[in-house]
């Protein structure tokens, strides 16, 4: 699966896309693939603060749990409620299925994130392929 070029990525396999100063965050195809069937998403509440490189929740498969790391610092403005009943949407369309939206407090953080090419290089390094 191709990694959208208008997104930025973290080494913990989250993606973020920016609309003004609001970032939309999800996990990458690589992340969902290594987790397997996702059964539960533990997301923060609207109004919660998130910090760049800090955990803000977790995604779970049957036998694994993976922390979610925020690419940016800011305040949660929306949470994808659909994931409560259909977490499998992340498996089906990882790059279209967002988990939270965040109002960025420091938009310059965007610049520090990996672009699609850098992320892809990072992933192939990790998998040793």
């Amino acid at each position: 699966m191709a990694y959208p070029t208008n997104y930025r990525y973290t080494k913990e396999h989250e993606w973020i896309v920016l609309d003004g100063t609001t970032g939309t965050i999800g996990i990458t195809d690589y992340a969902q693939n290594s987790l397997g069937d996702i059964v539960y998403v533990d997301a923060p509440k609207v109004g919660d603060a998130v910090t760049a490189s800090q955990t803000f929740g977790s995604v779970e498969s049957v036998k694994a749990v993976s922390d979610l790391y925020s690419p940016v610092t800011g305040t949660v403005t929306a949470v994808n409620e659909a994931l409560k009943t259909a977490p499998d949407k992340i498996n089906e369309a990882p790059h279209e299925t967002w988990i939270i939206k965040v109002a960025l407090s420091d938009p310059s953080e965007w610049e520090k994130l990996l672009d699609a090419a850098a992320y892809e290089a990072f992933v192939s390094e990790e998998t040793g392929s």
């Binding site: 069937d37 059964v39 539960y40 498969s61 049957v62």
Partner: protein, 506 residues
Amino acid sequence: MATDPVNPQTDAARRTTGKVRPHQTQNEGLVFEKSSPGKRGYKLPELDVPPVNVDELLGAAARKEKAQLPELSEIEIVRHFTRLSTWNYAIDLGMYPLGSCTMKYNPRVNEWVARIEGLAEAHPYRPDHLAQGQLQVIDLLQRCLIEITGMDAITLQPAAGAHGEFTGILLVRAWHESQGNARMKILIPDSAHGTNPATAAICGYEVENLKSNAEGGIDLEALERQVDGETAALMLTNPSTIGVFESQIHKIADILHAKGALLYMDGANMNALVGKTRPGDFGVDVMHLNLHKTFSTPHGGGGPGSGPVACKAFLEPFLPIPVLVKNEDGGMHWHYDRPQSVGRVRAFYGNTGMFIRALAYILANGPDGLRQTTEDAVLNANYIRKKLEDVYELPYKTPSMHEVVFSDKRQAAKGVKTGDIAKRLIDYGFHPYTVSFPMIVHGALMIEPTESESLEELDLFIEAMRAIAREVEETPELVKSAPHSTRVSRLDEVQAARKPVLRWRG
């Protein structure tokens, strides 16, 4: 392909090595589905006191609607639970090589003596002078376990291994506090049981991971680097979860002790050591035992366990209350007034019923039997290792003790994982080994035969494992879709977790 290898009716799927033949187990619904109003499985004795009016006595606190429990006759209850039981594999049926879980024979006399009326019906608050029989049993077991571990003191209170870890780390913390600094972190090897880090966390410690060396053991240099004035203890499983004895154990203890840190031993694998060496002699300060592993008390589908904690003398003042003390007249009593104690970890005195069983096991063995048991367990594991190492990858070549850990590296190349091989083993009449643990071995097959297996059963197991290795080469789909012989086929764990159904609703 001419035939469909996934079809369970095919010869290949059905005909394994001949140990197994399908047999009839009647289908059986949930107990609630068999209920109908008015059926009875009980009869209470005639009431010899005046009946009472519940609503009058309890008022608003009275239960208005009866709980929706089933209504069945006695024969239906017998059949229900008997039928359910036939869907279980058990050590009584055959080899159960779950590594780290130590599925050994559970002697029947243990069950019998635990049900002797004067023991089974003893109330925990019966006055001490009327409980001398119980206290005598507890005292003898304590003395046996202290001797076996080479430690100085013990508490039998913890209800299971993880509960023992909790108690042991509380002792560690209390001792450090008494020295003026509780310290901040516990070192835990990456090969450890999951309970170790979980335990350290609930005792308020940070967990620091210790990477295993190339042999799967403790990396002494890394240990030396990581131990500092804030290290409270190292939690070490010895033999390790890959079944390897830490031959540098004394150096490990020295490194810790030089920095004022303690050595905690997870005694899950004590069955590899009993009668051959003693943790107390090789530098361990505190450890737990699993009576349901080493000392043959039954696992019962997941418990009860019992997790005594043995320690060196300097930790004794911190043991949970109460502790057993001898009177001048030779009798015994429970002692509560111990100001340095970490407190209580459960109500009453522990899983006394398990103490009785463990002691019965020790009595049945004696010193010679205990040693022979350990030797046979190690012999069996090494025999399996020898007979399978040409077909399954052995990631660590270090000598094995009571269990051997292979990896699925060769089979994974054919798309068959350790979990698949495990499921196929069921078709050959065996319980699977432990799958995907320890985490330092990718695709682990952790095999622990225990001493309870005869040469005949071991050979059948080896033959099954070799046959499966061949199937992986020839008909991998057959293995990947196993088991083919069970009442239910592979269950959908994803659905169970996504939409949890945890109770029946009529």
